[in-house]
């Protein structure tokens, strides 16, 4: 197939009651079946619409806030896909696995690939020095069933995000599977921020489409799900199918079907508690598509021009815990440069009308991000400040009035991995309204 229809489902998870003592296996299964009942409707709907594959979110069957003990009744032993198991046809082959059997039957009965996120338990021996005290490794796990209901992929999440209930696998797993609609890679949520397995799957394994179940808490101005995921698909030049959980109070919303040149479909809803299914037609092999974007040399333009005059009024501001250098867009049009360490960010812009009650700033950051300082970020950002007080630049804000006729943003990046983000007022994307030039400039179209 040259193209296929993809579906992702943003699921409002039915959560368990908070407890410090583990529930019974039966009660755990009862809750998971309630969530699968909802996923079943989405899977049937996806199949009816002709979708080849549906992605469902991380934690969609049981939620979060567990200890190692309280998650245990929700776990099943998930075998290696090399055993060629169709749980729906052979339900007792690997012990008591009702969740895997039901998911497999949903894939088989509806003839659709299904990705689900469930918990895996793997017994270990006491002579294994890292074996946990309960005798099991516990993994946050993605499984994929094909149209026959066969388990074709299993991935254990590597970069855990405050999940004491799960263990980190020994090494990052590089999990792919082939279909007649392209080669797929899978990982989970926070994994997308790291090289392995995320970048390696695209660069070395040449997958066409990444499947990303997530439970993503949105953080403005840089890490809202739809904003970052659409940018990652563009930067990595790969299809990305993202299913997020839906939980408004925890800022969890934002799912999408993203192609290398543009978002195809996305969903962001902070107003309702409802789930949502998305569909879109996607190129099976985006690299062969006429839309496939050219490779970008991200620092080309920024390192070859003479920097614009650095303004005197450069000031420090924070995005999360990261100290950015900012400079204000004080005129309604201009050329600005702001630098931090080895990163200089250049902006040329023209506002259609400068709103009196809004302030924008250009910021640069190059350094280890956050409190733990594990990930090295290089960021150029032009953003609306929360108020007209420039000390609020970098703080979250959700609405704006200022329109731009022209913008061109570039930076002297030391890395080839740069993700272009554009976010409009009320947290919306702008498909088709901007592009990245081969010399690394992020510009508006027209």
């Amino acid at each position: 197939l040259d193209t296929f229809i993809a579906a992702v489902y943003e699921h409002a998870v039915i959560l368990p009651e908070k407890t410090e003592t583990p529930v019974s296996q039966d009660n755990a299964l009862l809750l998971m079946n309630k969530n699968i009942d909802i996923l079943e409707k989405a899977i049937k709907q996806a199949a009816q619409q002709g979708a080849e594959i549906i992605v469902t979110p991380e934690d969609a069957l049981y939620g979060w806030s567990f200890t190692r003990e309280t998650i245990f009744p929700y776990l099943e032993d998930i075998p290696d896909p090399r055993v060629n198991w169709i749980p729906c046809q052979d339900p007792h082959k690997f012990g008591h696995t009702p969740v895997q059997v039901r998911l497999s039957c949903l894939a088989k009965d509806n003839s659709i690939y299904v990705l689900a996120n469930i918990g895996d338990k793997k017994p270990c021996k006491s002579n294994d020095p890292t074996c946990p005290s309960n005798g099991y490794y516990q993994y946050n796990t993605n499984v994929v069933y094909d149209k026959k209901g066969q388990l074709v992929a299993r991935y254990h999440k590597y970069h855990l995000y405050s999940e004491p209930q799960f263990d980190v696998p020994e090494k990052p797993e590089l999990v792919t599977f082939n279909t007649n609609f392209g080669k797929f890679g899978i990982f989970t949520c926070f994994d997308i921020l790291f090289h392995d397995p995320a970048v390696k799957l695209v660069k070395d394994f040449r997958v066409d489409t990444i499947l990303l179940p997530t439970a993503w808490m949105n953080v403005l101005p840089l890490l809202t799900a739809i904003e970052f995921h659409s940018a990652w698909a563009m930067g990595m030049r790969v299809n990305l199918l993202v299913a997020n959980t839906h939980h408004v109070r925890l800022n969890m919303t934002g799912s999408g079907i993203y192609a290398p040149h543009s978002p195809k479909a996305y969903h962001y809803d902070m107003d309702t508690e409802l789930g949502k299914i998305l569909f879109s037609k996607v190129d099976s092999h985006p690299r062969s598509s006429p839309d496939f974007p050219a490779a970008v040399n991200w620092a080309d333009y920024a390192t070859t021009i003479k920097p614009f005059p650095v303004q005197k009024g450069t000031f420090k501001g924070f995005i999360s815990r990261d100290a950015f250098n900012f400079t204000e867009l004080s005129a309604s049009a201009g050329d600005l440069t702001v630098c931090q360490k080895d990163l200089c960010c250049h902006l040329s812009y023209e506002m259609s009308r400068k709103e009196e009650n809004e302030v924008y700033a250009l910021g640069a950051f190059s350094g280890l991000h956050g409190r733990r300082g594990r990930e090295y970020w290089q960021v150029c950002t032009m953003l609306k400040c929360r108020t007209t007080d420039v000390t609020t630049c970098g703080q979250p804000v959700e609405t704006a009035l200022t329109r731009f006729n022209v913008f061109s943003l570039s930076g002297t990046f030391g890395t080839e991995y740069v993700f272009p983000e554009v976010l409009l007022t009320k947290i919306r994307l702008s498909p088709g309204k901007f592009e990245v030039l081969k010399d690394g400039r992020l510009v508006n179209k027209n």
Binding site: Y161, E163, H195, Q378, V379, T381, V397, L409, V418
Partner: protein, 31 residues
């Protein structure tokens, strides 16, 4: 130009080679 007001335009770069060693796995960085 852009038909809607803009909140942010950003180039978000990840320089993996300069990550701290502890970036390979472990508990995530809840902030």
């Amino acid at each position: 130009g852009m038909s809607e007001p803009i909140l942010t335009v950003s180039l978000f770069g990840r320089w993996y080679a300069k990550d701290a060693h502890s970036a390979s796995g472990g508990i995530g960085n809840l902030e």
